[in-house]
Each structure stands twice: as structure tokens, then as C-alpha cells.
Amino acid sequence: MFDLYILLSLIILGYIFGQILERRHYASIKRRELAIVHLVTTNSKRTLGDVGELAEARLVHGGVVISVDYFKRIVTSLRNFFGGNIRGYETLVDRARREAILRLKESCPDAAQIINLRLETSSIYKGKGNQIGSVEVLAYATAIYT
């Protein structure tokens, strides 16, 4: 019985804090994306358009590790039974990727353009019952200075 109470309170705590944290994170992502939208980023190997004389090229990277909350993990295990979209994990990887790209862009605000953006995703932490608890996303690219 006691175990059930712990489980329930973990789920409720996870739900409340998870929702708050996720909403706050999305708000911050959207604000920062707008603030740095002028820095052109592409995953092609050449610069977009003509940027003029190239002065320097530098490897830049940004990474983040984000964890899913307890509520979503429980819901996911139910989803695994019925099938269908796992919304909780979709937002998890979406937040992680956008955050990683933002950190990369924020690490070189003076660049003229960022080319050849690559994203690498991996799960580094396995939660109880071998479920993926968190994802690491690494974004790396070449920053072009003129």
C-alpha cells in the first residue's frame, strides 16, 4: 500500500513539475529562436548566397541532455501496450534538438553563416526497467566568418 502511495505521488509530482518545466522551456526556446533568427544556419555544405570574402572557418558545437518526467514515463509504458504516437517523447526530443541548435548558434553570434549543421542523438541514461530516461543531443557545424 505504501509503495502505491509513493508511486502515485511520484506520478503527480512528475505531471505538475513536468508540465511547468516543459512550458517554461518552450517559452524560452521560442524567445531565443526569434532573437537569433538573423544568423543563417543551413545543413548544406556550401554557404547560402554570396557572403563575400571568407576570413575564417571554425568548428562549433552545442549539446544538451534532457530528461523526461515520471508521469510521461508511466504513460509511455501504457502506450507501448496500445500503440500510437508517444507525445511525451516527441516533445522531449524536439526540445532537446532545438535547445542544442540554439546553444550552437549562441556560441558564435558574430558568424556570418553556419553551414553543414549535423545533429547527433543518443540516450545516455537508462531509467528503471530499461526505459530511456533521457536523451542527449549534440549539434555541430562549421561557422563561417567574413
Binding site: 534532457i66 535547445e99 542527449e136 555541430y140
Partner: protein, 104 residues
């Protein structure tokens, strides 16, 4: 040392090529970070300890790759790729590789 993840150093000419260089590092998280990560796994959100751990590991792997390239006499590394894998529970490997070249 120039490093890029495209096939060339933009704006410069490659004059010599020395082949693939790589650097890797395996890091374990320590107990303090593990406890915090356990808590964060309830609430969700960023695991700052792990983010730092992985970025330190990446810097180290990159430094090792650069050393190897310098030993060969190269002054640039092109086509750099990152990869991460978890070998055992609690440790993660960062592997970085690229092609060592000389640019004029």
C-alpha cells in the same frame, strides 16, 4: 588548428593530406551527479550535470584528436564527425574523428 565539418577549409586550399585522425574518451558520471539526475528523472528537464560532463568529455576528445593531427604535421582537420555511445550503464564514450590535412 583549423577544424571544420565540411570537406574543405572554406576559403583555403588543401595542399597535403595525412588520413584519418581520431580522439576518444570514456567518462563515468559521479555519484553526486547521479543522485541529482535521479531526482530530475522524476520532474523532467535538463540534466545540467550530464550536459557539462559530456561537453568536458568532448573537449578532451577533441584535444586528443588535435594532438594526433599536430604530431603528423597537419594544420587543419576537415570533415570532423562526432559520435556518442553508452558502453556500460553509467558511462558514455565520446568519439571524434576527421581527416588531417595541411592548408596553405
Amino acid at each position: 588548428m583549423f577544424m571544420t565539418n565540411v570537406e574543405e577549409v572554406p576559403g583555403k586550399q588543401i595542399v597535403a593530406c595525412y588520413g584519418v585522425v581520431s580522439g576518444s574518451t570514456v567518462r563515468a558520471k559521479h555519484v553526486g551527479r547521479d543522485i541529482m539526475a535521479g531526482l530530475k528523472n522524476i520532474f523532467g528537464g535538463e540534466l545540467v550535470g550530464y550536459t557539462e560532463l559530456l561537453s568536458e568529455a568532448r573537449e578532451q576528445a577533441m584535444a586528443r584528436m588535435q594532438q594526433q593531427a599536430e604530431a603528423l604535421g597537419a594544420n587543419a582537420i576537415v570533415n570532423v564527425r562526432f559520435s556518442t555511445s553508452s558502453i556500460t550503464a553509467g558511462a558514455s564514450e565520446i568519439y571524434i574523428y576527421g581527416t588531417a590535412v595541411t592548408v596553405e
